[in-house]
Amino acid sequence: MSEGVVPNASVADMHDRRLLMDRSVSGRRAIEMPAADVPLAEMPNDDLLRDADDLQLPEMSQLDVIRYFTLLSRLNFSIDTNFYPLGSCTMKYNPKLNDQVASLGGFANIHPLQTDDSVQGALEVMFELQEWLGEATALPGVGLAPLAGAQGEYAGLLIARAALEMRGESHRKVALIPDSAHGTNPASAAMAGMDVVTIKTDEFGNVDVEDLRAKADENACVFMLTIPSTLGLFEPNIIEINNIIHDAGGLVYADGANLNALLGLVKLGDLGVDICHSNLHKTFSTPHGGGGPGAGPVMVTEELASFLPEPVVVKSDGDVPSPARRERARVRAQQYHLTRPDNSIGKINGFHGSFSILVRAYTYMQSLGGDGLRAVSENALINANYIQARLRDRFDLAVDRLCMHETVLSGKRQADRGVPALSIAKRLLDYGIHAPTMYFPLIVPEALMVEPTETESKETLDRFVAVMQAIDDEIDSDPDSVNHAPHTLPNTRLDEATAARRPVLRWQAETD
């Protein structure tokens, strides 16, 4: 990289990509720790102690730490700076109040092993969130423990297996999964010891009901239905499908990772779904953080609630029996408790779930309320259909139907003209718009999956449409430029093959 002096303040530092250790100067410090205020204890045996020079961490001034990470932040797209029409990811605005609330000392500084009576405010947040998610899905058993969607799925599948085992049907080990499903579905099913059987999608983008009927047999454990599907469609045969599964003795698991299309419009439990999970970092607006942390609560029917992962918060009515009279007043004041459900699948992580994310989601739900949550879904649908309507003359649709919260375009016409979906996605980056989800679902050629969310304005959608049209024009005027995009970002396309073939996974001192 050039160390030359460049007369452009912004570009100059963006090309200085040296790592912390390359910037480290021995003896510098970014923090001063206080001296010990207690007498020093005898140290353990020398052979247990680390040599002082064994720990090679950066030595920086405090300003240089701040400037370095601030520089890195500017090499990034984000919701605060860019439109992210990233299908199935629900990149909506992350309200700032939620972050502010999560950082309150009464939430940020409580220890997970404090006694229940000392954390009643936190337990109330969790209890209320359980209630609200139960209401939104008509699945009243809610477990907040799962730390992300994939953990929610895994918990849901463990619940299904445990429930069937209790029925004496431990032989049921088949997970029926549509070919349009997200990759975590089969991966979670494999973790839960299930055999994956794939169900076809018909020409209208729906589950192939006859294929399902043929495969839902006495070994069926669960059918994992993504709703709306990854094609952005609501499954019109959902009740028939659920009946087929229930008649075969199995359970219906809805991958409700994304409830953004459904709030106030329909409740999964009403449709016969037994288990679902929801990603709070999608529908409920908690920030994605560049890849987490998230939260993936699992919701189940009343009958399955006793299998939920530990812990679940319960509310007592104040009549907890207490042996010691002097304790009674205290016990009465304590309303909320962490409990382990009777047939719990156990602990799937260290403590009680992503509490800092749960607080944000509950804050968000209060800001929206029942009426606002319905407005969320209404506008998410309108925005997606608006984009679909405006782009359909230029791009093929995966399925020519009204969509729910996202639309799947196919770049087939563009690929035939020599520019694959990948390049369209990369070219969008040059216009300051994040790429849509590409090549997913796998069953759509040259898929570009677009999910605008309800928090984007019509002007933003119109600009996206204009940019997509401009890129489509560029495919005729300058296809080469599109195929080599992006041109304006901190890096051009990266050599991923070499990264995998000769992995360099950490800083190392330059040897040359």
């Binding site: 000392g105 940020a108 220890h111 994939a150 799925e153 987490g292 156990g346």
Partner: protein, 467 residues
């Protein structure tokens, strides 16, 4: 809505007239035409929830809920056991204010995510360095899930199916490992230190997995456990408290194969147990068996350095049911906090935090030992099950970092209640592991004054001041 129906919610920009315009472009008369696929009898099921509230109202309610909790930031606390109250430098919070990090997506488009990727590479570098291990991944959900996945990885690497966990580990580690392994055709079993050190390890063991410092805070003989594992053809898997590595030898120095830890002590607030970040490190030769995201260095078409997610063929979105893990969204932002923490603390800061915690904890232990009726529990006290250990030249079985168990004169739950009455968050009741046991933890956050206050309170209890 709280305001009149013509005004959209602050988070939703479409005005009624824009909605009408957009519906016309879509070619439908009204919104209901968009949801005809939903079965009619279940359509428009209204949400029985309160209506929208203003920012002022919500903030007020949430502040009131926060105020109901006893904040360990404003009173002395001696709770540890897997979540630790350490100093968090101001730089961490400052960088965490950057919406460019907070509101970005998983870096599937590396050209538009170099900030997340390069900071993640810094995280991997720092974690590998602290652990003295060759590679680290970009983070797991939390410490216990990292430990569980390490056991499963050991089974894949060794092609053996018995994951043996030393019985001195936190029971949470067992429980999570059991939940992860339930249907994976592997067995999770507890094994005693004596069995391992006597060479009594079954020959189908995938690994000897242990926690050091262990649940009761003591330093295990990592070298002896690792040697015993290797002698049985098994992997050595260590779960640790990363702050301790500021002064104690790293897993890498003992030839441990896979080392995991809870990242929370490195700059992450307690937040009632999450979100945290699991640290996962291993020897280089296992990289294709690692779970989770990994960031690698590469170059772009102009030859400039850049970073990208790599080795993705292990992952669920490529390999589906044959993936090494189902993990997808993980804990990138918490990893960023760890990266900023490590850059700020540097080698001298991390060592200082470890040493302060060590000295203060020993100060408290010595003071409690001097109290009548109170005893710091020592393994070397007779009757001890592990007499053989000292002769091996490893740590004394009583070497501890910053946590230790104490035998109380009354039930530990009563001790904690009495302490709460004096504004002190006590220790963890471990009477299910050691009779009358309470586990106390001290960090650099506990001032000498706080410690003296605790000792004073305990002395009152020891003198029969129970009532």
């Amino acid at each position: 809505m709280t305001s009149n129906a013509d005004s959209p919610h602050p988070f939703i920009p479409n005005t009624p007239s824009e909605r009408a315009q957009m519906l016309a472009t879509i070619g439908v008369d009204d919104f209901d035409a968009l949801i005809t696929d939903i079965p009619e009898q279940h359509r428009n099921s209204s949400l029985q929830l309160p209506n929208a509230a203003s920012e002022l109202e919500v903030a007020t309610r949430m502040q009131a809920l926060a105020a109901l909790n006893q904040d360990a930031g404003t009173r002395p606390s001696f709770l540890g056991a897997g979540a630790y109250r350490h100093f968090i430098p101001s730089t961490v919070g400052a960088i965490l204010q950057r919406g460019e990090f907070v509101t970005s997506y998983t870096p599937y488009q590396p050209e538009a995510a170099q900030g997340v990727l390069q900071s993640g590479f810094e995280f991997q570098s720092a974690v590998a360095q602290i652990f003295g291990m060759e590679v680290a991944n970009a983070g797991m959900y939390d410490g216990p899930t990292a430990f569980a996945e390490a056991g499963l990885m050991a089974a894949r690497v060794s092609r053996r199916n018995r994951i043996l966990i030393l019985d001195t580990a936190d029971k949470r580690l067992f429980e999570v490992a059991e939940a992860y392994a339930r249907y994976q055709q592997v067995e999770i079993e507890a094994i005693s230190r004596e069995s391992v050190l006597n060479g009594d390890v079954p020959d189908d063991a995938a690994c000897i997995a242990f926690q050091s410092p262990n649940f009761l805070g003591r330093i295990e003989d990592v070298q002896a456990l690792t040697d015993a594992a290797h002698a049985a053809g098994a992997l050595s898997v260590m779960h640790t408290y990363p702050t301790a590595l500021g002064m104690f030898k790293s897993p890498g120095e003992f030839d441990v194969d896979i080392a995991t830890g809870e990242g929370q002590p490195l700059g992450v607030p307690l937040t009632f147990g999450g979100a945290y970040v699991g640290l996962f490190t291993a020897k280089q030769r296992f990289i294709r068996q690692l779970p989770g995201r990994i960031i690698g260095r590469t170059s772009d078409t102009l030859g400039r350095t850049g970073y990208t997610l790599t080795l993705q063929t292990r992952e669920q979105h490529i390999r589906r049911e044959r993936a090494t893990s189902n993990i997808c969204t993980s804990t990138q932002l918490i990893g960023l906090m760890v990266a900023v923490y490590c850059a700020t603390m540097g080698p001298s800061g991390l060592r200082k935090v470890a040493e302060l915690s060590y000295h203060k904890a020993h100060y408290l232990a010595n003071a409690i030992d001097a109290l009548p009726g109170w005893n710091v529990i020592r393994e070397s006290d007779p009757p001890s099950p592990s007499q053989g250990q000292i002769q091996r030249g490893g740590p004394s079985p009583d070497t501890f970092f910053n946590e230790f168990a104490v035998e109380c004169p009354i039930a530990p739950s009563d001790v904690n209640r009495l302490l709460a009455g004096r504004g002190i968050i006590g220790g963890l009741d471990v009477s299910d592991v050691v009779p009358y046991g309470i586990l106390l933890c001290v960090t650099e956050m506990n001032s000498r004054q706080d410690i003296d206050r605790l000792v004073d309170a305990l002395s009152g209890i020891g003198n029969g001041g129970v009532a």
